[in-house]
């Protein structure tokens, strides 16, 4: 609009005054807002600290919270997976040469559990960085109290070796192995954040249920807690198995990860989103949690068994459409939740067209109205299908700020962080040496079918046979490398093509090839040790003539392991003094664990002190019917030294500060605390070592 020339002929003085006023107002407002911003960010910092960001909160630099990415720094610097051991930014740059697309494998294969294979290749130039990320961890779940007390011997072990995981006792520590792939899009932020944090979140979730996964002492509850605070141990109404708990840990970790990225967007630069594929080896089973279009395939007896489903707009069309139908406001004015057998155009108005509503799986006719000319919420077929014409994946982390192309419609509501979890019972399965798990991002699977992948892996494995010890460790790395090679292909003129001349992928490719047999072996070994230690506590006790011949019966492995780990001592005196009635053919094969002293408390109960340290095992006779062989249950363990200056048999040194009495009793037992307290009277314990109290 043309302005009148006269408007500009204002007196100069007025201009100057206005300028003064404006600058004053600007300064005032700046100060005003700065003050309020400081207050606001303080409050927010406090909230975030409570909510529990994993990292200390940095000082906010920008008044506008989070909306301007350029002013925020990343929470984690861009990097490649730690096991590749890239030390400099230059190495990262070289590895991402888009012309060569080098296939990168770990420099030190022994850094990966079981010499598992990993290989990656960068995209052909669609993004500067490789947007895939990978992570692996071997970790130990540990019961919090295991460091302090509760088990004889273990306590001593811990004193010697304070925090070395190798020495951890299977009774209190549960190992697990975690592999993860994250395929980023629209930036590297979300994938890097997930690769740096998801395993920590998952670890916390697993620690939360450690009492279920690794019961404190099988079947016993902690008396100490129940006497002080009433019944604090929650006994679930429904039987909950470990599979459901681990699945739940994975699911809640995925959810929290996504929430965390959302919160972090206020404080850091977290660009884009990512898919997530996690393989968790725990308690003899393999859990595959997948949210996105990466895939895990089991290669078993040379056959591919899919361990995950791809989540794409195509596969989740129904879910997305149902959500859109329920909440049409999410679609703005441009999209429709309906689905047509072909996209109607202007010319079709008034004509009939086959459509499918959110509540349908088949087709029906409707007359085309202007409403039907909107874009379907999921549009396109196969790899080209998009949600809101924008995004090609429907699950994963991030994308909190993502809007549909050329619109202000948020996409996040249509995305899920929830993984689908599939379980393979490795312990039950017959696992061969060549059985592996292949995990790959969509760069691999776009070109390489499941069948082809298995074929490639088998060829690689055959090339490095298992009996060739010196080269054995390369076999899985070599297989991973061959898989990436197949999907990446070679550059002919300007196109990447596979060996058979088809179009290769131009996407980032990341692959894990994980052997299953070593885990099975590792788990079996751990389980034996675990059961051995628990054998001590779960053992039954037999006697024919009363407490005089009382001994604990346990499995050979259990006794051996228990003795080795200082949980028990073998007492030859006691074993030799066993009457013939116990030394029959079957019983004599079973080594016996005996206590240094046995005490009769009353007709039904006795206590055993097992030398070495000052703990007492309480045995209770529960079966009254069978006179020939009364069965005793290992009723409770009373630990600690009676608070008396009198030297008791079991506390040889007569130490001054006595540990408080911790007792464990069966959950099913009707005995109360008061009864147990009787057992640790000083006088009851003042027996000579290596003798048995006769009836």
């Amino acid at each position: 609009m043309p302005r009148h020339a006269g408007e500009w002929k204002l007196p100069v003085k007025l201009f100057e005054r206005m300028e003064l006023f404006i600058s004053f107002a600007r300064n005032f407002l700046t100060e005003f807002f700065r003050f309020h911003f400081v207050m606001f960010s303080r409050v927010r910092n406090a909230i975030f600290n409570v909510v529990g960001g994993l990292e200390p909160l940095p000082v906010l630099k920008a008044p506008e919270s989070g909306s301007d990415d350029r002013t925020l720094g990343p929470k984690f610097p861009y990097s490649r997976p730690h096991f590749l051991q890239f030390h400099t930014e230059e190495e990262i740059l070289v590895s991402a040469d888009h012309h060569i697309r080098p296939i990168i494998v770990p420099r030190d294969i022994s850094k990966l559990p079981w010499n598992s294979g990993y290989a990656e290749a960068v995209n052909a130039g669609k993004s500067l960085r490789n947007e895939d990320q990978a992570c692996l961890r071997r970790a130990m779940l540990e019961r919090p109290e295991s460091r302090e007390r509760n088990m004889r011997g273990i306590r001593q072990d811990l004193r010697k070796m304070p925090s070395s995981p190798e020495c951890m006792n299977p009774a209190t520590c549960l190992p697990y192995i975690y592999f993860a792939l994250f395929d980023g899009h629209a930036g590297t932020g979300a994938a890097v954040a997930a690769a740096n944090q998801l395993h920590h979140i998952l670890h916390e979730k697993l620690v939360d249920v450690i009492d279920h996964l690794l019961p404190p002492l099988d079947g016993y509850m902690q008396l100490e807690a129940s006497t002080k605070h009433g019944t604090t141990f929650f006994i679930p109404e429904k039987a909950v198995d470990n599979e459901a708990l681990i699945t739940g840990a994975l699911e809640s970790a995925f959810w929290d990860m996504d929430q965390l990225i959302g919160e972090d967007k206020q404080k850091y630069k977290v660009k884009g989103g990512c898919t997530a594929l996690v393989a968790l080896f725990i308690l003899g089973k393999l859990y595959i949690a997948n949210a996105g279009d990466s895939r895990a395939v089991l290669c078993k007896s040379r056959c591919p068994i899919p361990m995950s489903n791809d989540f794409t707009p195509e596969s989740e069309r129904q879910r997305v459409r149902q959500l859109a139908a329920l909440q049409p406001e999410l679609l703005g004015e441009e999209f429709t939740h309906l689905y047509y057998n072909r996209r109607p155009s202007q010319r079709d108005l008034g004509k009939r067209i086959l459509y499918r509503d959110a509540h349908m799986t088949g087709w029906a006719y409707k007359t085309v109205t202007p409403e039907d000319l909107k874009i379907p919420v999921v549009y396109g077929e196969g790899k080209r299908s998009r949600v809101l014409a924008t995004i090609g994946v429907t699950r994963g982390f991030g994308d909190h700020d993502l809007k549909a192309l050329n619109s202000n419609i948020a996409i996040k509501p249509f995305l899920l962080s929830q993984p689908e979890v599939q379980i393979l019972d490795i312990q039950e399965e017959e696992i061969k040496d060549s059985d592996v798990l292949i995990m790959g991002t969509d760069g691999l699977w776009d070109v390489t079918s499941n069948e082809k992948a298995v074929e490639i892996v088998q060829r690689s494995l055959d090339h490095f046979p298992a009996n060739d010890k010196s080269r054995l460790k390369y076999r899985y790395t070599s297989a991973a490398q061959d898989l990436v090679m197949h999907s990446r292909g070679k550059l002919y003129e300007k196109n990447w093509k596979t060996a058979d001349g088809k179009a290769a992928t131009i996407d980032d490719i990341s692959v894990f090839v994980i052997p299953l047999a070593p885990y099975k072996e590792e788990y079996t070994e751990w389980k034996q040790e675990y059961e051995a230690i628990h054998g001590i506590y779960e053992t039954s006790c037999e006697t024919s003539e009363g407490f005089g011949k009382l001994s604990l019966k346990t499995s050979p492995i259990a006794t051996g392991k228990a003795v080795m780990s200082g949980l028990a001592i073998e007492n030859s005196v006691n074993r030799d003094s066993l009457p013939d009635s116990l030394g029959d053919s079957s019983a004599s094969n079973i080594p016996l664990y005996s206590a240094d002293i046995a005490l009769k408390i009353d007709d039904k109960t006795c206590a055993l002190a097992s030398g070495q340290d000052n703990s007492v095992l309480v045995i209770e006779n529960t079966s009254s019917g069978d006179n020939l062989s009364s069965h005793y249950n290992c009723g409770a363990e009373v630990k600690g030294t009676p608070p008396s200056s009198e030297k008791s048999a079991s506390s040889k040194e007569g130490e001054e500060d006595y540990a408080s009495v911790h007792a464990l009793m069966p959950c099913t037992d009707t005995h109360t605390t008061s009864e147990l307290n009787v057992f640790c009277q000083p006088k009851d314990l003042s027996q000579k070592p290596n003798t048995l109290t006769h009836k």
Partner: protein, 199 residues
Amino acid sequence: MESQPNKQTGWCNGIAVDLYSGGVGKSCLLLQFTDKRFQPVHDLTIGVEFGARMITIDGKQIKLQIWDTAGQEAFRSITRSYYRGAAGALLVYDITRRETFNHLTTWLEDARQHSNSNMVIMLIGNKSDLESRREVKKEEGEAFAREHGLIFMETSAKTAANVEEAFINTAKEIYEKIQEGVFDINNEVCCTFLLNLAS
């Protein structure tokens, strides 16, 4: 074929190729050059290892990007794809193992077939510190290099003797070719470098 240096970084690509069995100390050479250290027991190279270093020629900074490729036949199809972008190569044999020398011809054919015809190739007799166990005379190496138009040098990754020189001389040669316009380098001072070790 044409050498294609990475335009974004201005790196020079180089490739090291173990001819058939590995163990000539190619990876050690690379480590010595890029990190100035020697690691006696080196893992078998699977696929590709790489290193990068900045050098100065004629007062110009040149970034060397060196690909160190596996010598094993199993990886041949993978390693060949690194030939493509390379401007230079170090062809390395072990002076204490004659068979590594005997395989040079095979490697040379392979490299010439799959790489830029202008690729600068330097022949290197490695492990010169092990004089007592020498199986290949220096003269033989020189003769082979003359015959095939290569530059020649004996090195020791262990004592670092001539390692620096080997890489820099090759880089210089490449740089000259860049100046002559043989390589299309796009303003970036850069050489694609193929470090080739015949074992």
